[in-house]
Amino acid sequence: MKAKHQRLILALAALVALVGAGLLAASALKDEAAYFYAPNDVKTKGVEPGKPIRLGGMVVRNSLKRAADGVTIHFDVTDGKATVPARFSGIAPDLFKEGGGVVAEGAFDAKGMFIATNLLAKHDERYMPRELEGMTYNETTHEMKAEK
């Protein structure tokens, strides 16, 4: 085989690898674009059970209940338009509280309950999950509004 042909084969292999990687990224990103959901997105678009997503919103006041095992909590997440029930087993971060923002990672079960495997409410007092920036929570009406 001539050197030129070999270079051609290598270049073709490289091209195939790059195109393949690009397609892989595109398809993965397409799923990812649907990775973050607010409760209203859940209601309008629907999320199939078992699909890993991030659910973001505010923890509804007086919705937080602790199960008898001491490590499982139930709470509702709202974005002002819709409310979704959620369950989490584990040690909740310190800044996780009623009326506070939360981003929960997990998936819905068949009954429409969100089973969170991880709660993100970072350690900094000033931390606001990126996805919730520009949203405000009304303490009295328990409503969330997206600022324009």
């Binding site: 690898a17 990687a21 993965a28 990812e32 990775y35 606001m128």
Partner: protein
């Protein structure tokens, strides 16, 4: 006075960088060797001055000089001395000062110790280093002055983020920066080579030690950062695909590719243009990472302050340097002659495959990291998380491992596919055996990626030792050992990752003092909760006895409260055994005076970081091996000369 000395040193260093750039440019352009004579002293002086500025800032932090704004906003007089010291770089300005210091010192090192490079290329390289440094001096002096004073000093500072108050702060950032910024040397080498049109094997041999050194430190820095996050955050994870982690991973991927391609260039004089390109890309990734972390567009413990002006400044630097280097590349690369050809089945091809896969992973990580920022610019918020990165990086990384097993067993220039297959027979047989036994013992308990990961890790581990097969071990060169150790380290690390994700046992309970918790062969007796106090924190500490078999060990997870700034952190208790780690986190108190406990048994998880250390050690061995060979040759040549003179 100290602050002013530091600031003056910084300005002086910046002026010298400008001088160095002008001298190198004018000297090379006008062919005036007398101008070039001043370039090396300028670089050395710059290194000394940045070191002085840095020492000044460290002194201010150690003395808790609250009249300096940076100290007042980031330190506290009650802090233990280690965190006063390490807190110097636990903030935006300090970390950028560390950045330019590393850059200055690296430039001085290139001026002092680089002997292999031709004089013109050496001068052009130092000119390039000065050009990059200049931008970062400007950034520091105009938008992030670490030495600014305040009129009314407070009695006490605001304190350091408690998450950072850990011995890890003394090690992780400096090591990471040494590697991260050390890559600027490779960038400058590429610039110098393009300007002087000297891209050949000799150039690659001169550049290789610098790349190796930066890569070793970067590897150590990332490994340390991963372990720190693992024990400090209390989440039991060791990599979160956080944009900031990606910011350190991307230069590492590029540097790893560069390390291999520069070897091809040094040994076989092939892949000339590609190597230059990678040298540019590696440090560009460092700069992109800095932009992501320092511009405040991300929320993270690493992003200290949000200031859009700084973001645009770094973005401008980024555009200038990356754009400039790529333009130079496009302009000059046509005049670089084609390198040596090679056959399709050869070590060179295997290394091309390595480079291709590393570049693809790099590209995918870059896309995943930047995608949310790009969509946000169009008013659409998207987050890209671990599922994306796991899904794309996992399979390609496994393919890369397979290539890594085959590469060292393939000969340079030309080999036979059949012969390579024969050499791979043993690893393949072992992979087969491992997959059979794993299927028998762990079927249904183990996911597909961890399964493949374990099989490949064992096979690659065996294959990476194969280059030593049938060789005289004492006469094998040190850099061959370096390669073997580094590749084995990759296998060890992969095995740790696979074991962690496949076999970790987690237990979550709310327990009363006196309870005994059984999990994964461990029996943990929860004795009591006691309040304790440290230098600048108070804590609730759980006393527990963990036992497996006869002996029991006291473990004490804590929940710590820091007053300034007010924060609670969780200090996990870690019990390390040869076959894994017991990881216990204390949560909050719930009704019935019970305490939440999260307990993990993580089999062989420590292999992840052991592998990281082995990879770095392999790089260090290769570095020492290459350098020692150079010294030996020189020494022999000198002896021969002297003997000749006497005779």
């Amino acid at each position: 006075m100290i602050a002013e000395t530091g600031l003056a040193a910084l300005w002086l260093a910046a002026a010298l960088a400008l001088l160095q750039l002008v001298l190198a440019f004018a000297g090379l352009k006008g062919n005036k060797p007398e101008l070039l004579n001043a370039v090396r002293p300028a670089a050395v002086a710059q290194g000394v001055l940045t070191a002085i500025a840095f020492a000044a800032l460290v002194t201010l932090f150690m003395r808790s000089d609250m009249s300096v704004l940076l100290v007042a906003t980031n330190s506290h007089s009650m802090k233990p001395w280690l965190y006063k010291f390490a807190g110097t770089w636990g903030n935006h300005e300090g970390s950028m000062l560390l950045w330019v210091t590393v850059m200055g010192v690296a430039g001085a090192a290139v001026a002092l110790f680089e002997r292999a490079l031709q004089r013109n290329a050496h001068m052009a390289t130092l000119g390039g280093q000065a050009a990059i440094s200049l931008g970062f001096y400007a950034f520091l002096l105009f938008s992030s002055n670490p030495f600014a004073r305040i009129a009314e000093p407070p009695a006490d500072g605001q304190g350091l983020n408690p998450l950072l108050q850990d011995p890890g702060l003394a090690f992780h950032p400096p090591t990471l920066y040494l590697g991260y910024v050390g890559l600027s040397v490779a960038f400058s080498f590429a610039i110098g080579a393009l300007l002087t049109r000297q891209v050949d094997a000799a150039f690659a041999r001169a550049m290789r030690p610098w790349v190796l050194a930066a890569w070793v430190l970067l590897t150590l820095g990332i490994t340390a950062g991963s372990y720190w996050a693992y024990y400090e955050l209390g989440w039991g994870g060791w990599w979160f695909w956080d944009p900031v982690e990606n910011a350190s991973l991307m230069p590492w991927l590029a540097a790893t590719a560069l390390l291999h391609s520069v070897t091809v260039l040094a040994t076989r004089d092939a892949l000339r243009a590609w190597t230059i390109m990678l040298a540019v890309v590696a440090f560009s990734m460092s700069m992109v990472g800095t932009f992501l972390v320092r511009s405040g567009i991300l929320t993270s413990v690493h992003a200290f302050a949000v200031d859009p002006e700084r973001g645009s400044f770094i973005l401008a630097l980024l555009a200038l340097y990356i754009g400039g280097a790529l333009a130079l590349f496009g302009w000059r690369i046509g005049s670089v002659r084609e390198g040596a050809p090679f056959e399709l089945v050869s070590r060179e091809t295997m290394l091309v495959v390595n480079n291709l896969l590393l570049t693809v992973i790099l590209g995918l990580v870059l896309i995943g990291t930047l995608y949310p920022l790009m969509t946000e610019a169009f008013g659409h918020k998207v987050s890209v998380g671990a599922p994306y990165f796991d899904r794309i990086a996992g399979p390609i990384a496994l393919a890369l491992m397979v290539a890594m097993a085959a590469g060292p067993l393939t000969r340079w220039r030309k080999d036979q596919g059949r012969a390579v297959g024969k050499r791979l027979l043993l690893p393949l047989a072992i992979a087969f055996l491992v997959s059979i036994s794993l299927s028998l013992f762990a079927w249904g308990r183990i996911g597909i990626l961890p399964f493949l990961g374990l099989v490949i890790a064992v096979a690659v581990g065996v294959a990476s030792l194969a280059p030593l097969w049938k060789r005289k071990l004492l006469r094998t060169p040190l850099f061959t050992y370096g390669m073997v150790v580094a590749h084995l380290g990759c296998a060890v690390s992969l095995a740790g990752m696979a074991c962690d994700s496949a076999f970790t046992v987690e237990k979550l309970v709310a327990a009363r003092p006196g309870d005994v918790i059984q999990t994964a062969g461990w029996s943990i007796r929860f004795r009591q909760i006691t309040p304790i106090a440290g230098d600048n924190w108070t804590a609730l500490q759980a006393d527990m006895d963990a036992s497996r078999g006869s002996s029991s060990v006291r473990i004490q997870p804590q929940s710590r409260f820091f007053a300034s700034p007010p924060t609670t952190t969780s200090e996990a208790a870690l019990l390390t055994r040869w076959d894994g780690q017991l990881y216990v986190v204390l949560g909050e108190e719930v009704e019935g005076s019970r305490w939440q406990l999260r307990i993990w048994w993580k089999p062989f998880v420590t292999l992840i970081w052991l592998g990281g250390i082995m990879i770095a050690l392999g790089g260090a061995l290769a570095l020492i091996g290459r350098e020692r060979r150079g010294w030996l040759l020189k020494w022999r040549a000198r002896n021969a000369r002297m003997e000749g003179g006497e005779a």
